[in-house]
Point group: C2
Chain length 408, copies 2
């Protein structure tokens, strides 16, 4: 029996996003896809080759860059660069869209080294202004460096601010690694997944199969547990890059170092997911939904998702009106069987419904809880062991006006 | 071989609703459940006993009157009276709610004759003010007569107007029957079913099993093909009553007279469904969705429903913005496999997307089509034979404000 003398690993939140990860360089510019000189093109380059994993939209009408990413990842699991444009999703653009995405990748590889992966976000059904983007890439190539915040900004569409998060992981053996992430997303947010792009990166040399299964677990418990408007986009993508610096020992599936690294990745992804919801289009309040007592986690998730997606729950939340009857009515639409007599609904700490009846004495306290910026509810649907947490936003008149004239 | 000399049956739209059906009497009053003296209680009574069929919400948290209706219909398929209150849904009100619904039924039977069936609509999770309703029933009993329009008004909640429709059916054998209907519903409208109540009635003596299967078919192609906000309520109910006047021959499953009567019922239900969508909360435009080329009707329905429920489609509709990319993105979320290359999307008469590509020349015409009060789109998803039509509304800031403060 071998005893390894080591202290327990420590994960610490640090300021910044991708910028905290050594060996990453970034560039961003205003190529002209977006009007008014806004940043709309970003490139991320790594010094060492990376293993890479990706999780993509389940939408049947996946955009050209998503199709291309899938193809490239099926062939090889390494990566040196990621190129992202905002302002145009390159979705529903046919063969030309595919050719354009490929041209973006090839030009990125020529200027920055490769393999490269492409991401796009923005309006659907409009051909990509390829020449504009290619000229932008040249511009980016002249200023590669430490521009993680500008890169984060170049991803945005209707977002009101950048989304970044990072962790420093001190492993028990004294080695230190970093996990950084960046995301964008504000509307069309719903599992699977949000209309969102996220790039996570680490300097820990995680092996390809381990990175892949880790990313799937992390995405499932973070980005797939948020909802803004119930729409799954054509472009949703999460990429994870793990740099393999020369001389480092690869971290495989059974390596004990993987656990704290996965936890750090989950914290970064969780923080980004939270930032996406908080910045939901027109959002003024966040609803934190806990569904527990389920026999299967899928049941808990379906009920949470039905509540999170209900326009009536979301408008009541907007009005600060503890109209909890709508919460149970929405739960009842999830096609998950439950007995109304067994339900227990809490708003904050207050039980407002139990044994099939409203608890009249709790209504005033519930009303006050619904007027806070963050409202917590917990619905017990039975005596099972499974539970799920889910975040959603209110539905406001601002959401309507943002989306009624998105293209104009 | 017997030859029946008969002309073909004729169905004619007539003004009015339940009022056109001979042998029906109605009453309505302002009992006080709703503030400000609005009509909120109605009773429908028939001279002859009726066969009756009902279709109810699939919500797991079905309201007390729905539970009671189901129980009563399981015991007997005859009915003489329907009692409806608005302003309070008697949903999520536990044993007391059930007892209250039963008390409504018993008092109705005592005053008007029975068997009676109860319906309720309004706010969820608030105990029914039973004494108020019982006093109201006495008031109603003093003025039973030809008050179909007042009865229609007593059903309403956020509706801006009554919903009524009627048909006169002249059968080939010279006999004449009538089908009348009334409905309410404006928010929480989504299959299955809308938050809606509907009562359909006829003086044709349709036998109980025939009426039941007929009502299911009719509901499926009318009330289950509309969406306002994707929420299925706790109280959705459709009742159909067929009077069995003494001396008339019952119309059974194989009776040729059933076909024109079913068609008349479908027309009445279809017209009511259309009135519900047009009066959708905050609605300013109606979207008529046709999904065709499906291999299975369930596929067509799932795609149509995904489009009808998408907040991004509904806000684009509100803005009169032909952002058709969102239509295909929503279709892609229905979990129905399709090939983007095989899709064809028409806005009005104009093909805007085909062979995987936008048809650039059609965009201006599509933009104009999206600015009409009724927008028609057709999406071909393959080369199958099945199709579905579906109606939905736009999502407006008014919807938000109506629902943000519904209880206050």
């Amino acid at each position: 029996m071998t005893i390894i003398h080591s202290s327990s690993p420590e994960i610490r939140a640090v300021d910044g996003g991708l910028g905290v990860v050594p060996g990453l360089r970034t560039a961003a510019c205003a190529s002209g896809v977006k009007p008014e000189g806004k940043l709309d093109l970003g490139v991320l380059v790594t010094e060492a080759p990376c293993t890479v994993a990706g999780v993509f939209t389940k939408n049947q009408a996946a955009a050209a860059p998503v199709q291309l990413c899938r193809e490239l990842l099926a062939k090889q699991r390494t990566c040196r660069a990621v190129v992202v444009n905002s302002g145009n999703a390159n979705a529903l653009t046919g063969q030309r869209g595919y050719d354009d995405a490929l041209a973006m990748v090839e030009e990125t590889e020529r200027l920055f080294g490769g393999p490269a992966l492409p991401l796009s976000t923005g309006v659907i059904g409009v051909p990509l202004p390829l020449e504009t983007i290619l000229r932008g890439l040249t511009k980016c190539s002249q200023q590669v460096g430490d521009h993680a915040s500008a890169f984060a900004e170049a991803l945005l569409t209707t977002d009101t601010g950048t989304k970044q998060a990072a962790r420093r992981v001190e492993l028990g053996d004294g080695s230190v690694f970093h996990v950084g992430g960046v995301a964008k997303g504000s509307g069309m947010i719903h599992p699977n997944m949000a209309t969102m792009l996220a790039i996570l990166a680490t300097d820990a040399p995680i092996a390809s199969p381990a990175l892949d299964s880790m990313l799937r677990r992390v995405t499932d418990s973070t980005f797939n547990r948020i909802s803004v408007d119930g729409d799954t986009s054509t472009n949703d993508s999460v990429l994870a890059l793990a740099q393999q610096a020369p001389g480092e020992t690869e971290i495989g599936e059974c390596d004990p170092r993987l656990l704290p690294l996965e936890e750090a990745l989950r914290q970064v992804a969780g923080e980004l997911a939270e930032q996406i919801v908080t910045d939901g289009e027109g959002a003024t309040r966040v609803l934190e939904i806990r569904v527990h007592g389920a026999r299967w986690v899928g049941d808990a998730r379906a009920v949470a998702q039905a509540i999170a997606g209900s326009p009536l729950v979301k408008t009541a939340l907007h009005g600060g009106d503890a109209n909890w009857g709508r919460i149970i009515a929405a739960a009842g639409n999830a096609a998950v069987p439950f007995d109304v007599e067994e339900l227990e609904l809490r708003v904050g700490e207050h039980v407002v419904f139990a044994a099939g009846m409203p608890i009249v004495a709790a209504q005033d306290a519930a009303e006050r809880a619904f007027q806070r910026p963050r409202v917590r509810i917990a619905l017990r649907i039975g005596d099972g062991e499974e539970e799920v947490r889910f975040l959603t936003t209110d539905l406001s008149a601002d959401y309507v006006s943002i989306n009624a004239h998105y293209r104009t």
